[in-house]
């Protein structure tokens, strides 16, 4: 489905990302290493959201909750002295998946505006839960005592090692999504986006497919959360705040919804914009807000829409 132009952009993009640590080292600006790593982690989050939003047509406004759940799992494990990454990370993925089953089952009883509001409300509930967890820092959050420990395999307390691990994770997630959406499962999901009644008429239990996609997306976001906790060495309820969910939607839409490369490019552009604009003025959202409105009104299909003819039809 991806056009050649998209593939080229993506390749160039990963080539660039691969070189970031070298450049950062060379120019001794570790800040860019940090920025690029954060960007790739959020790209995984946006990629997972795109699975349900772009391919499933389900607009989840609470996707940051799963990132938060993943991050909290790692943080809480570390707080209790369990730093083994082989346990922490699968646990983070499983727990986010478990939450996604429950939340998905509730919110998928509805569609449209209801679905948006319910996913938003459930995510906000997790935010308030995080705020009220005094044992784990409450409002202020919790510093990670130690990064995930992968014994002799890899040592991610080294920033560059962590960077390449995240890089690898992003590539793997991208390949996974590629396989998934081109599989039969992905086709059914996209069919249900275009015309749910018709898919049901053909005999597909669409709800089951959508719920599965919702859970997969939740697990992938939970994985991104586990990475993010290691990246910032810190967890706080803010990870789950509803504006974080909004940011993820923006990334997907900026890059171009329903394409694989879109969310990845979107995450890059979003963080760069934030960086550049907040460098210009402290009140950068005064520019960013109207910019968003303009993108919605005039640049349908996101940035990749300029390079390929796939339009974004909203829902």
């Amino acid at each position: 489905m991806e056009s050649r132009a998209q593939k080229l952009i993506l390749l160039g993009f990963f080539g660039g990302l691969f070189c970031v640590p070298l450049l950062a080292e060379w120019t001794s600006t570790p800040f860019y290493l940090d920025l690029a790593r954060r960007m790739m982690i959020l790209a995984i989050g946006a990629l997972s959201l795109n699975l349900i939003m772009g391919y499933g047509g389900l607009i989840s406004f609470g996707h940051a909750a799963y990132i938060g759940i993943g991050a909290y799992t790692v943080g809480i494990c570390a707080e209790h002295g369990l730093t083994n990454g082989f346990i922490q990370w699968p646990l983070a993925i499983l727990i986010s998946g478990a939450f996604a089953i429950v939340f998905g089952a509730i919110s998928l009883r509805t569609r449209g505006v209801y679905f948006i509001m319910i996913t938003l409300a459930l995510a906000q509930m997790m935010y308030f839960l995080g705020v009220s967890l005094d044992r784990y820092g409450g409002d202020d959050g919790l510093p990670l005592s130690e990064r995930s420990n992968f014994q002799d395999l890899i040592d991610i307390s080294n920033n560059i090692t962590l960077y390449y691990l995240v890089f690898l994770a992003l590539v793997l997630c991208l390949l996974f999504c590629h396989r998934l959406i081109h599989s039969r499962f992905g086709m059914v999901l996209q069919g249900a986006r275009s015309n749910e009644k018709r898919m049901q008429g053909l005999g597909f239990p669409t709800l089951r497919y959508q719920l599965t996609a919702f859970v997969i997306a939740g697990m992938m976001a939970g994985f991104a959360g586990a990475l993010l906790a290691n990246h910032t060495d810190f967890i706080n309820p803010d990870l789950m705040h509803w504006t974080r969910s909004g940011d993820l939607i923006i990334m997907v839409l900026l890059g171009g919804m329903g394409s694989l490369a879109g969310p990845v490019i979107g995450a890059l552009v979003f963080l760069l914009l934030e960086e550049v604009l907040s460098g210009i003025t402290e009140y950068w959202q005064l520019i960013f807000g109207p910019f968003l409105i303009l993108v919605v009104l005039f640049a349908r299909g996101g940035l990749l829409g300029f390079f390929s003819k796939r339009g974004n039809q909203g829902e």
Binding site: M53, I59, F61, I106, R109, T110, G112, V113, Y114, I116, M117, I118, L120, A121, L122, Q124, M125, F128, L129, V131, S132, L133, D134, R135, W242, T243, G246, I249, I250, L253, M257, Y283, W284, Q285, L286, F288, G289, P290, F291, L292, I293, V295, V296, L297, R300, Q313, G314, E315
Partner: protein
């Protein structure tokens, strides 16, 4: 032990919060219902209403003047927003609507931070509303009584508007089937501009009234917006009656949960566990209620849509 007077007092506070939520939910549920429009910026109108009212109150010393400036100001702003920015979005998908109104929130929040600074404003209680009324030996603050009175009055007026007038008939018809009444020759856009304007003014009223009891701060719009969304989902999109019932339910449950849940948990949990679980569950309570309602009635308690 829980004493009856305290329960009554908190119940009273719950009603007051419920009516505040209703002021916001009434306008928003119609926007969702009639135009199938996802508008997140409603909370911003509430915030701007609160700031304008607070500022005018501080300048003039008169709370009433503050309220009466904020209402028309936000009404006009609402109508301009609707005509200028939201109207092109009706034909779009929900996602575009979410994103554009999210952009508005960012803009308004930053705008308020630029103009009034990050600190927030303290609004003093208007002097003529200080003091309490004592009922069964329980002191009830005058100001909260006034908020309840205003809320009930607005609810009554809205009820009359929606059920007894021709405009109200159009609004109800629009909420249940928009295409149909367009085909019948009604200019739904004009009805909708009116609805949006009323909704904006009610949001400003809620903001102005909330000023002296809650803090006037930058995030105030979003915090209440999410509670309002819960109210609307429970009540059923497009239904004023649903908004009223949902708002009272959420207001009372939220306040009672925050006040008494830990006491309740102590009945069957160790004290320590109850003191941890109490506040945690209390902050999640309204969302759990929402999930329960949706489980049994996915369209809310009073569904307005017919087709």
């Amino acid at each position: 032990m829980v004493d009856g007077a305290l329960v009554f007092e908190q119940f009273f506070n719950g009603i007051q919060l419920g009516l505040l939520l209703f002021l916001l939910a009434a306008g928003l549920t119609l926007v969702f219902g009639i135009m199938d429009m996802m508008n997140l910026a409603h909370g911003s109108l509430y915030m701007l209403g609160a700031y304008v009212a607070a500022q005018v109150t501080l300048w003039s010393g008169s709370f009433l003047l503050g309220v009466s400036v904020a209402l028309p100001a936000i009404l006009i702003l609402g109508i301009c927003l609707e005509a200028g920015l939201l109207r092109p979005l009706y034909a779009r998908g929900h996602l575009d609507q979410v994103l554009a109104t999210f952009g508005m929130i960012l803009f308004f929040n930053e705008f308020v931070r630029l103009v009034w600074g990050p600190e927030g404003i303290e609004v003093p209680l208007p002097s003529f509303l200080k003091g309490n009324v004592v009922l069964f030996d329980i002191p009830l603050p005058n100001y909260r009584l006034v908020v309840i009175g205003v809320g009930l009055l607005v609810a009554l007026l809205l009820y009359l508007l929606v059920t007894k007038t021709r405009t109200g008939m159009l609004i109800r018809a629009g909420a249940s089937n928009r295409e149909m009444i367009q085909v019948l020759g009604v200019d739904i856009n004009r009805v909708f501009t009116l609805v949006f304007g009323i909704g904006a003014a009610l949001a400003a009223l809620a903001g102005a009234l909330a000023g002296p009891i809650l803090a006037v701060t930058i995030g105030m719009g979003e915090n209440i917006l999410i509670q309002v969304l819960v109210v609307i989902v429970i009540g059923g999109i497009g239904s004023i009656r649903g908004a009223f019932v949902g708002a009272m339910l959420i207001g009372i449950i939220d306040i009672l949960g925050r006040s008494f849940l830990d006491t309740f948990f102590k009945i069957f949990l160790p004290v320590n566990a109850a003191e941890t679980a109490g506040p945690a569950v209390a902050s999640m309570l309204i969302y759990i209620i929402m999930a329960l309602v949706l489980f049994f009635k996915p369209q809310g308690l009073f569904p307005a849509k017919t087709g």
